[in-house]
Symmetry: C2
Subunit: 167 residues, 2 copies
DNA sequence: ATATCGCGGATATTGCAGATCCATTTAGTC
DNA sequence: GACTAAATGGATCTGCAATATCCGCGATAT
């Protein structure tokens, strides 16, 4: 028997902006300390829609991952050392920290509704889904931007800086 | 500094139908061997929209989790022992097996585009996101419907059967 | 035969991601 | 001080997928 899964899984997918911001944060991590890059520079660097990217960068600022300075020569930089920024922080800043599986307590609905005394503990299924989400978060929490930089070729930061500031 | 995450995370959330079918599969696992329950019975049991639920149940049939018999007294039953059905199989049958993070290779776009020889290996960020997805899948693969039944009170199956067949 | 069920296709409806624009604020530069 | 470059916040538009329903077909028990 061959399994047939839906070809496309709309609901589960992370938005594209997740990839954008992970790469943008990695790029900012390659700047010299104190240097900034504007939303327009980052958008040019990856050929992304600038206004929308700016909105997402703001979300990272609110989450404490990035710091922003306004005015000429302003822009974004990391708000803390790269070793203190986990991928989990970035992803949850962009996509929200809400667990993907939300228990709506359907065990209390319909003809099969359980009495309240049987619902003191969390739904077993919801607990298992929460376990899986915890495993996902633990995995992402174990990787920092510094780890990512460490896996890049040593020549990457210099090239990134020159291309980012060009033009 | 207090973190501010988006209150709602549309893209990441699993559809509600995931919860529906996890519960429906758990319910079917409590039937006597060979017994079936119709989509209408399951919809009544949880107060769900019957036509839509039927569609999702068909997806579980295509995935080899459920077996269906047509005609009067027909309905759905597990296609294999409960110990052989993992939560991962159910979730991926409903929501698709596509990983939530899809690498669009933006490292090859824009001014910062990397040369092809730097892209032989998979993108580091994509690899880390894939690691996290693997941890999530491993967690769900480690739980079977039999495990879920084992955590239910011993009186549950009898009550489930009687309420499901009632009316 | 006929009523009961699953199956497949087609079709609304709705909410959010993706995307853009503008007015405001902030802060450097001349 | 005026100008300018940048982030910030609000409002808005569009496209697509999850949700939800209906109908006709086929299968099968009684």
């Amino acid at each position: 028997m061959d399994l047939q899964y839906p070809r496309y899984a709309g609901g589960v997918k992370l938005p594209v902006s997740t990839e954008w911001l992970l790469h943008c944060a990695t790029t900012l991590a390659q700047l010299e300390p104190g240097a900034t890059a504007s939303a327009a520079q980052l958008a040019d660097y990856y050929d992304l829609p600038a206004p929308y990217l700016a909105k997402q960068l703001q979300a990272l600022v609110r989450a404490g991952v990035l710091a922003a300075t306004t005015g000429p020569r302003g822009g974004f930089r990391l708000a803390r050392p790269a070793a203190d920024i986990t991928l989990l922080r970035i992803v949850e800043a962009v996509d929200g920290a809400a667990p993907p599986y939300e228990c709506r307590e359907i065990r209390r609905q319909g003809r099969g509704a359980l009495p309240p005394e049987d619902c003191r503990d969390a739904c077993v299924l919801a607990a298992k889904m929460a376990d899986a989400h915890r495993a996902w978060r633990d995995s992402l929490r174990g990787v920092t931007l510094a780890d990512i930089l460490g896996e890049l070729p040593p020549t990457a930061p210099a090239r990134t800086r020159s291309r980012l500031m060009a033009k």
